[in-house]
């Protein structure tokens, strides 16, 4: 965050808006601390409904018109990450992965990241399991969402909540 000027380019506006939101939430943490709130201080400033609305907007951009049923998709992340630079994550989808019945694609979002889109990947019957292990960059404590598209045209979703103690965005090395 060093030397950031009030630049008015669209990206800069987005960033500043994000910073303002962050600062607002940091204030909320202080308030929560006074009343002895739980460990999910920062995430608590964004209600589950707000987080869900953020994610719904992002899903509509990538998968317009898709309504995914909850289930079959699992996101494994640690409950708490000391910092958001490189958080281990495994996404897996329950599927027999045969020619007739397999996962076609998996898309993932982190709703409170400045840019929520994380990854979109394609699988097929040559994968014995629809499973990806990777490392995430997370700017905040938040809810992660993954949606799988199956070969029969159905969509399934899974979520995971993670507390990030030091944002990947705070020291500028992100």
């Amino acid at each position: 965050m060093q030397g950031r000027s009030p630049d008015e380019s669209p990206t800069a506006r987005g960033t500043n808006a994000w910073r303002r939101r962050f600062v607002a939430r940091s204030g909320a943490v202080a308030a929560w601390t006074v009343v002895g709130a739980g460990p999910l201080g920062r995430a608590s400033a964004a209600t589950p409904q707000e987080q869900q609305a953020d994610l719904d907007r992002e899903v509509a951009k990538r998968l317009p018109g898709v309504r995914a049923a909850p289930g079959r998709v699992q996101i494994d992340v640690p409950a708490v990450a000391e910092n958001g630079h490189s958080v281990p994550c495994t996404v897996s989808v329950d599927s027999p992965m045969t020619e007739a019945d397999h996962v076609r694609s998996v898309t993932m979002w982190a709703g409170r990241n400045p840019k929520p889109f994380v990854i979109q990947m394609r699988f097929g019957p040559s994968n014995p399991r629809a499973r990806l292990q990777t490392r995430l960059r997370l700017g905040d404590s938040q809810r992660l969402l993954a949606i799988a598209e199956m070969s029969d045209g159905s969509y399934w979703s899974g979520v995971a909540d993670i507390e990030v103690q030091l944002s990947a965005c705070e020291d500028g090395s992100g």
Partner: protein, 108 residues
Amino acid sequence: MTERIQLRPAEAAPGDTVEVRILVRHPQENGLRRDAQGARIGRNLIKNLVCRYLDRQVFQAELGTGIAANPLLVFELRATHSGEVAFEWEDETGGQGSASATLTVREG
């Protein structure tokens, strides 16, 4: 070397699961950072990464800012015949790279 692919195991029987580990040395610039002079560093993400086994696509991905710098991608394929497992990537500013490994399948 800016990218690497590893197969675990590198020798398998037909039908076995083989883990493919891909690592790319890449900053995954999110477009939000500034350099020491305060100038914005342009966004540059890996927009396409494709992995093929015996010339057939077995995995493809588009990476967003939510994938950490120096991306690690680990997935599985089903061994059929001996041959090459190769991947290539391309980023938003035209950078690209590729790497491959040989899978040995004990047949018969």
